[in-house]
C-alpha cells in the first residue's frame, strides 16, 4: 500500500472540504430508517468526494487510503458530526454486497445504499428462529430466473421504509440446517411482501412483522452460491455487531443530552462519595471499551486481527444497561415520570428499555458469550443436537 498524501495534508483537505460543504441545518428531519432528499444530496456529495469509501479504489468512489488514513477521514467527519464517511467499514449492507455480490448486484445496489437512495432492512429472525438463525423456515424456490419466496420474518427493524431486505431463506430441506440456506436482496416493494408494524416497549414502532407470500426475487439478487448463505450471513453479522459495539441510539430528547457527571451535578449529588464510586465505575466501562477498540484498531493496522473485536457488542450492552441504571438512580423520584415535559426522566426510562436493543438485537448477550468462549477462546463447543440432521427432521418450537 502506498500513501500518496501525508496525514497532515489529508487532514487539512478533509477539514477544508467539510468547511466548504457541510451545512448541518440542511440535514435535519432524517430519521434512523429513512433519508430525506437533503440527506441523499449530502451523502452523494460525500461519496463523490471520495470520503464515503476512502479505503476502496477509485472505481468504487474511493481513494485506496490505508486504514489509518481512512480513520483520519472518519475522525474529521465525526468531529463536526457529519454523517456518511467511512461507510466501507461501517455500512453493513454495502460491505456484504461488495464481499459476496456478483458484478451486476454490486453495480445495481452499492452506490444507492451509500447515498441513502436505497433503504435496507434485515430479514433474518423468524418467530421460531432467533438465536438459532440456522433454524429458519422461510423457503425460496428457484423458478426460471427468479426465486419464489414464502415465509414469515419478525423483529425486522426499518421494514416499513426499506426498498430491499437482506434475506436468509432455506433453499434445500435435505441438507443439515446450516447447509441449506441462501442469502438474498429481496425487493420489499412488491405485492408478496406485507409489513405490519409492531409496538415496542419504548412505545415506538421501528420493528415489524413481514409476511412473505409468493414474493419474487431475481436470481441475480442472490449473494454467494445457493446453499452458501450461512457464510454470507456470518460476514453480515460481524459488520452488524461491530457497529453495535461502537455505540447505540442516545437520549431521544435532544434537550436532555446531559452527561452522567452533569446529571450528578444537577442533582446536587456530585459530592456524594457513594455516588462518586458508582459514577467512576460506570464512566470507566465506556472509557475502557474505547481503549480496547483503539487497541484493536491499532492491531488491525499492523495486519493482525484482534480478539477484542468480538468483545465490543457485549461490552456495549453492559455500558448501556449500567449507564441507564445510574441515570435512574441519580434522578430518584423524578424517574417516575416520562414524556416531553420531563425530558431527562423520559431519557432515563427510554435508555433503560432501549439498552435491550443491544443486549438482545443482533444476537443476545448469551449468544455473544458463547461465541467469545468458542471462537475466541477455543473452548469446546456445546453439543448441538440438530447440527448434522437433515433439516426436515429438526425439532421446531
Amino acid at each position: 500500500m502506498t500513501t500518496e498524501i501525508s496525514d497532515d495534508a489529508l487532514r487539512a483537505e478533509v477539514r477544508a472540504w467539510l468547511k466548504a460543504n457541510y451545512r448541518p441545518e440542511e440535514l435535519r428531519g432524517a430519521t434512523l430508517w429513512s433519508s430525506t432528499p437533503e440527506t441523499r444530496a449530502w451523502l452523494t456529495k460525500v461519496l463523490e468526494a471520495g470520503w464515503a469509501t476512502p479505503r476502496w479504489p477509485a472505481e468504487w468512489w474511493g481513494r485506496s487510503l490505508p486504514e489509518h488514513q481512512a480513520r483520519i477521514v472518519e475522525r474529521e467527519f465525526a468531529a463536526v458530526k457529519a454523517p456518511g464517511a467511512g461507510q466501507d467499514r461501517g455500512n453493513l449492507y454495502a460491505n456484504t454486497a461488495m464481499a459476496y455480490g456478483n458484478d451486476a448486484l454490486k453495480a445495481h445496489f452499492v452506490r444507492g445504499i451509500l447515498t441513502g437512495e436505497i433503504n435496507m432492512c434485515l430479514l433474518y429472525s423468524e418467530p421460531g428462529a432467533g438465536s438459532d438463525l440456522a433454524g429458519i423456515r422461510t423457503r425460496a424456490e428457484l423458478k426460471g430466473d427468479n426465486y419464489i419466496v414464502n415465509g414469515q420474518k419478525v423483529w425486522t427493524s426499518g421494514a416499513m421504509t426499506a426498498d430491499y431486505g437482506m434475506l436468509i431463506a432455506r433453499t434445500d430441506w435435505d441438507a443439515p440446517k446450516h447447509g441449506g440456506i441462501s442469502f438474498f436482496f429481496l425487493p420489499m416493494k412488491q405485492p408478496g411482501v406485507e409489513v405490519r408494524p409492531l409496538r415496542q416497549v419504548t412505545d415506538e414502532s421501528h420493528f415489524n412483522e413481514v409476511f412473505i407470500t409468493d414474493a419474487v426475487c431475481p436470481v441475480d439478487n442472490r449473494l454467494g452460491a445457493e446453499g452458501a448463505g450461512w457464510r454470507v450471513l456470518q460476514t453480515a453479522l460481524a459488520y452488524e455487531r461491530s457497529v453495535m459495539g461502537d455505540g447505540a441510539r442516545g437520549p431521544r430528547n435532544a434537550s436532555a443530552k446531559v452527561s452522567l457527571i452533569d446529571l450528578a451535578r444537577d442533582a446536587g449529588k456530585l459530592n456524594d462519595p457513594v455516588l462518586r464510586q458508582d459514577l467512576a465505575r460506570v464512566i470507566a466501562y465506556r472509557r475502557l471499551n474505547d481503549l480496547n477498540n483503539a487497541r484493536a484498531k491499532a492491531d488491525l493496522k499492523e495486519g493482525t486481527s484482534s480478539p477484542i473485536m468480538s468483545l465490543g457488542k457485549l461490552a456495549m450492552s453492559r455500558i448501556l444497561h449500567e449507564e441507564a441504571r445510574l441515570r435512574t438512580s441519580m434522578l430518584g423520584a423524578a424517574s417516575l415520570l416520562e414524556g416531553k415535559d420531563f425530558p431527562v426522566s423520559d431519557d432515563a426510562n427510554f435508555l433503560s428499555l432501549n439498552a435491550y436493543f443491544t443486549s438482545i438485537g443482533g444476537g443476545t448477550d448469551q449468544i455473544q458469550r458463547n461465541i467469545i468462549g468458542e471462537r475466541v477462546l477455543g473452548l469446546p463447543k456445546e453439543p448441538e443436537v440438530d447440527r448434522d440432521v437433515p433439516f426436515r427432521e429438526v425439532r421446531a418450537g
Partner: protein
Amino acid sequence: MSQTTTEERNAIQASVRSLMEDRNTEADVRRVMETAEGHDPAVWQQLVELGLTGLVIAPEFGGAGLGPVELELVMEETGAALLASPLLSSSVLAAGLLTAAGDAAVNKRLLSAIAAGKTIATVAMTGDAGTWTADGVAVSARADGDKWLLDGRANYVTHAQLADVLLVLARTPAGIRIFEVAAKAAGVTISPLPTFDRTLRLARIDFAGVAAMPVGTAGWPAAEAALQLVLVALAGEQAGGARRMFEKTVDYAKTRIQFGRAIGSFQAIKHMAADLLIEVESATSAARAAATALDAAGEGSNEPADAAIHLAAFACADAYTTVTATAVQMHGGIAFTWEHSAHLYLRRARAQAQLFGAPAYHRERFLTALGA
C-alpha cells in the same frame, strides 16, 4: 399480635386471588391503565365487598381490624396481578396516617368513609425533592385567626387526581403537622403527571392559601407510622409481582425451543433462573418478616420493626427490578414488544423502587436501625 388463623389468612389470600383472576386479567390491566381514572370503579366495589378497603381500619370505624400480616398477603396478590387501584393510597397510606394521628372526630368521619370505599383519600407528603422524609416536606401552614392556610407544593402524590380528600403534611412554626383538605377546595391545583408505569397515577399539587383543618396533634411521627405500613404493603406487592414474572419466565424457558432444545436447557438461562429464585424467595421472606415485625411492634413488642421494614423496602425493590429486568433478557425479542407483559412488570418495578423512598435511603435506615 395478628388474631387470624392460618386458614383464615389463606382464605383471604385465595379470595383476592380469585378476584384478580376474574376481574383483573392482563387485558383488564391494559384497558384500565389507558383510562383517565386509572382504576376500575366496578373492581373497587368488589374490593369494598371483600372488606379490603377497610382491611387495616379498626372495627369501630367499620373496618376489618386486621393488620400488616394480612395486608402483606393481600398485596402479594394485587401485585402479582398488577392491580391498578388507589387501594394503597387510600386504604393503607391515608388510613395508616389517620389511625396513627388518632383524631377521634376526624377518624369517625373519614376512616369510616375510607373503609366503606366511599371516600378516596391520599397523603401529600413530599415536595419536589421526592424523598418522603421530613426534610422533603414543602408545604407550609400558617394560622389565620382560628383557621389554617396552606401554601407550597407537594409532588409525586399517589392517586391525587382520584382523591376526594387530601391529607397534607405541612410545616408550622411548631413543627410538621397533618391537615385535611378537600381535593376540590379553593386554591388547590392538582396537575396529573405522565408516569412511566402507566398503571400508576401521580400528581403534583400546588396550594395557594388553602383553608385546611388540622388532624390531631401528632406530626411527622404519624407519617413515619403510615410509611411503615405502606412499605410493608409495597414490599408485598413487589414480592408478588417478582414471583409472578419469574414464574412466567421459567414457564417460557421450558417451552421455547432454539437449537432443537428448550432454552431452559442452556446453562446461561438455567443459572439466571436459579439466581432469580434467590431474589424471589428473599423478597417474599423479607416482606413477610417485615409484616410480622410491624404487627408485633403494634402490640407493644420491644423488638423494633425498623430494621425488618427497611430491609424489606430495599430487598424487595431490588429483587423486583432485578427479576423483571433479567426476565426481559431471558425472553429475547418477544419481551421487547408492547404486547408482552414483561414491560408492564418492569415499569411497575422501576416505579415502586422510587415510591416512598429509594433503595439507597432504606439501606441507610436499615443500618441505623442496626445501630451502625
